[in-house]
Amino acid sequence: MSNADVVLRIDNLESYYGPIQAIRGVSLEVRQGQIVTVLGANGAGKTTLLKTISGVMDPEKGTVKLEGTEIQGAEPDKIVNRGLVHVPEGREIFPLLSVAENISMGAYTRSDKAEIAHDVELVYSYFPILKERMAQAAGTLSGGQQQMLAIGRGLMARPRIMLLDEPSLGLSPLLTEEIFDIISRLNQEQKVTMMLVEQNAAVALGVANYGYVMELGRIVMADDASTLASSKDVQEFYLGITEEENQRGQRRWKQRKTWR
């Protein structure tokens, strides 16, 4: 395997909240054009992992390499400049700014006016509703529209890789499907490389090429998305597909995970 197309490579990353170790030595890589998903339950450390990558938190140990350059511990604005953008959990839009202003802030690190205008149109073409609501204060948008705005704003940095944190959070299944449709279109049509963190394993595995399963700050499984989706453990614990009853007509309630 060549290393030329590895956009993001993480080695033995460790991160702490005070004395509590949230990331316990995570290694993973994301290749050009891929959607890589990190699955895991609440508190597994997924969000912390993204925050450590994007520079909002500093790691204690380990390296984060963006296209071969180490970026761990750098200031977030430097990291955005290098082409890594983080679309945070819970949208985090600027509520009192208009939709158009929110989108323009996504391009804060850029100064090429013509290109920016082109990208604004691109964002509006993927999210036509945002164009309709252009002049409206972003805080008045619905949850789904705010998520679209957050993704659109992230695109404006023209990232080499985009980190998406729980884009389905608080959205109806229908809206979730719509958002993921757009995510996968962006990946295919605009060749945006993405690292996607999700609790909703079914939709995440649906769009991803490769997946990691995270538990208690560690990666416990890594495989192609399709292989993961058919693995017994992922089905049982993340997709909610339960095993058939056994011969005696009983279910084993205390299922053991194979990685324990």
Partner: protein
């Protein structure tokens, strides 16, 4: 006539309060800290200008001195945030508030030692001049105060709505974390907001000194401006100006029209208004609170 005269001088006072209140709100919105030294910044701004222009000191051209004073205050504001406040991040609000109060004392002492503890008047080209218009006698200083405040407000409006830096300042104040995610250098932006509030303080101070004298204790005017900011909803820039105007108007009007023996009411009127506003509209007149959608 009497009434209109009072209203105009009240508006002129109110503009000064409003500009100081604007400084409070700028800092509060950007950094969530309340700068109790804002009044003293204003006082220093006036003294710096006075130091440049008065014949006892450097004796420079008045208009040049204004620009220089604005520059000096911008640098001072920036350095204050960069050198002191940035190292206090993570400390409690209370300690930051106490720090700014202490800075206020230091500034008052410095102004006294460098310039004077006694009131000094700023030498302006228009001192004592007035215009008559239909039975009204208007001081040029009062007219200038109102005009300059309108221009500055308009300028700030354009800055915050049209420039990338201005929008980024708003963005950083509305959602600091998201601003970090967008690659906005939040810390530098905050220092620039301090610089901007230094400029506003300088303008307020020069306007204040131009219609009277300035002494180190003038900084205590900040308390009244604080009330103005709270009336306006602490967090709204137009609110701060309106709050300032309300206080500026209520003072002369209540002194003039209060029943005999109650003339002292002018001194408590601003705070009485503040209490009434806080009871009926706890968020202030222009509250900008918005719930976050999940």
């Amino acid at each position: 006539m009497d009434f209109i005269q009072l209203v105009i001088s009240g508006l002129a006072n109110g503009c000064v309060y409003g500009l100081i209140a604007l400084g409070f709100v700028l800092i509060y919105k950007a950094t969530e800290a309340v700068n109790f030294a804002q009044g003293d910044f204003m006082m220093i701004g006036a003294f710096v200008c006075l130091g440049f222009t008065n014949s006892d000191f450097l004796g420079l051209n008045f208009w040049l001195s204004i620009v220089l004073a604005m520059g000096v205050m911008a640098i001072l504001g920036y350095l204050f945030d960069w050198g002191i406040l940035r190292h206090m991040s993570g400390q409690s609000q209370t300690s930051i508030v106490i720090l700014t109060i202490a800075v206020g004392f230091i500034l008052r002492f410095l102004a006294g030692s460098i310039w004077s503890h006694e009131p000094v008047s700023l030498e302006t080209p228009f001192a004592g001049e007035y215009v008559r218009a239909g039975g009204l006698v208007l001081g040029v200083d009062e007219i200038l105060i109102i005009v300059v405040t309108i221009l500055l407000t308009f300028g700030l409006y354009l800055f915050f709505s049209r420039t990338k830096l201005g929008v980024a300042m708003q963005a950083a104040s509305q959602n600091q974390l998201a601003a970090y995610y967008m690659g906005i250098p939040v810390k530098r932006i905050q220092s620039l907001v301090w610089a901007l509030s230094g400029v506003v303080a300088a303008v307020a101070g020069i306007l204040f000194a131009s219609k009277g004298a300035i002494d180190p204790a003038s900084g205590l005017l900040g308390i009244k401006a604080f009330a103005a900011a709270a009336i306006g909803g602490f967090g709204s820039l137009p609110g701060a100006l309106v709050g300032g105007l309300i206080i500026g108007l209520i003072e002369p009007l209540s002194a003039r029209y209060a029943p005999d023996g109650f003339a002292g009411i002018a001194r408590i009127a601003p705070y009485a208004i503040l209490i009434i506003v806080l009871i009926f509209r706890p968020g202030g007149l222009f509250s900008q609170t918005q719930k976050k959608k999940v």
